[in-house]
Symmetry: C2
Subunit: 327 residues, 2 copies
């Protein structure tokens, strides 16, 4: 496939917008900037055989997810995504129609958030498919929610439930897709294949004006909480009984596995953060009003050498920074 | 290698700068924006076995080139590069020290242009190394130099000489690196391994305030001139005797090969563009003053159905949009 033909096919995904001065089809994209906003940018790459297999993700899911992981990063800063640029490296066994289907999956998610494709690059690879997505977003000046903002006395909170995505992955890896799934199983598989980036929650937290530390859960709760502890130089203590473990995962895989998936399963793309105790009730009810579940799962205990502890039945142990390692 | 360890090692490349509010180490980067500027963004990916082999590029050259191809895109818009974000996908046979050496190569080029690393992502791949670089830059509002600006009566110009990079690649592919090279051979190999993005020329052309169509030569003169013709919907006629074919390539590979490399060799990363005849002398001498060679190689003949012709001894033929295809 010639790159130029692909550009023509994906052009419909690059909607006209007054802030896009040059979109796909020139050397680089040109977009407006505003003096009262900062630019947020991030890139994430997913590789065939490592982050997905053709058996675990439909083609359109590959596109959806490659964009979703980036939107999750933008959400974790409290920002609004605006544009995306795609770089695809693909081996000769990938067909034009398959690549278009991947773009369609991205476009479905992009439309939901009003995000515009401003650039696309397609190159050959020797083996497999690699999708690298860059997302540009914006945030009011100096309002980004950083990992380094946790302070002693803060509540630690997390959104949604944890472990669903890993539960879904286990189902996908352990069974033929022809075997019919229960509703519960489908729910987990759906979360793995099409995770919902927490843009609305990121916005709500930023709008609150509170000092909030924030991180998205791409690798697992343990690993992301460690990142908060290290960036803020604090000790964080989590309470095992308050972690919102996926009920579906617990039902299907048992309590122990469910808990493991929640702690180290990864790819839930929920947000974990901290906020001062006094602000917590307001934050929690504001989220509830928008249909977003926030759970208090621990507290920031002291500043000093970074650490993450897990409390269970009054006993505390240091938790390992495990996280799901792709292969 | 744990990603976190890599981040610590590359942090020295992420210089402090007042416009970088959040650099590497959080979910996304946050940079200042200015109301009188537009944001320019582009991404390019290079893959092991396709765009380079360990035998054709040193480790630091891989990094240098992955960044350089993006800077060339920014140059072709008349923009100034400011920041870069790196996404690496690597198979287990790549070592930490090798990855650092790649970053060092990027850093060498970045320092030259005062560009700052604001994000880095490292993932596993099943096979080989893939380096995807995103560059963010800026340009005064509505001043970008587009491919679509060519008009009837324009002079077509090109910078530097063409075919050097392909000559260098041929030398690298055909010989053991242990065989000593002549100075002439080294010059070609150097241009292939460390092409110089034409940032200064892009700036000069933008500063001129003239209407200028511009494109960078990543695939080859034929293919890039076709892009100008199609984007501007014009017929372009090039004159064979005026194309600045690499003398070194001609000396080493003969006149015919030298010409082929110039037309379809690719990766010269020179700029090809068009400007009104009346402005050409000023543009050419302004470039000369900065030590940049610009050659007039043809003209824009008429608006209408896009075409690229080559004139030789009074005869004209349509040139094929060939370009070097990586494998």
């Amino acid at each position: 496939m010639h790159e130029f033909d692909l550009i023509r096919q994906i052009e419909p995904f690059a909607a006209d917008h007054k802030d896009v001065k040059v979109g796909i089809g020139d050397d680089a994209a040109v977009t407006s900037s505003y003096a009262h906003k900062d630019v947020i940018s991030c890139v994430d790459t997913i590789c065939e055989g490592i982050h997905f297999k053709r058996s675990t993700l439909h083609l359109s899911d590959i596109g959806y997810k490659a964009l979703a992981v980036n939107l999750s990063d933008i959400a974790a800063m409290g920002g609004m995504p605006r544009y995306y640029i795609v770089s695809l490296a693909m081996s000769p066994d990938w067909q034009e129609e398959e690549i278009l289907e991947i773009y369609r999956g991205m476009n479905a998610l992009a439309q939901h958030y009003g995000i515009i494709l401003i650039g696309g690059d397609t190159v050959s690879s020797q083996n497999g498919l690699m999708v690298s997505v860059t997302v540009l977003g914006e945030i009011e000046k100096n309002r980004s929610l950083l990992r380094s903002s946790a302070r002693e006395g803060d509540i630690v909170f997390v959104s949604g439930t944890l472990g669903d995505s890993r539960g879904g992955l286990e189902l996908l890896l352990s069974r033929e897709s022809a075997v019919p799934r229960t509703e519960q199983e489908n729910a987990l598989v759906g979360i793995h294949q099409r995770p919902e980036p927490q843009i609305a929650l990121g916005q709500l937290l930023k709008e609150s004006g509170c000092r909030i530390a924030l991180n998205d859960i791409s690798d697992g709760l343990s690993s992301e909480t460690w990142e908060l502890a290290e960036a803020s130089n604090v000790c964080i203590c989590l309470e095992e009984e308050n972690i919102p473990v996926s009920e579906d995962a617990t039902n299907l895989f048992g309590k122990q596995k469910g808990y493991e998936y929640a702690l180290n399963g990864g790819e839930d793309f929920q947000l974990v953060g901290t906020v001062a105790k006094t602000h917590w009730p307001t934050i929690q009810s504001a989220a509830k009003e928008k249909g977003i579940r926030l759970s208090a799962i621990g507290s920031v205990e002291q500043e000093g050498s970074p650490q993450v502890l897990m409390q269970k039945n009054g006993e505390r142990t240091v938790i390992k920074r495990a996280g799901y390692r792709h292969q």
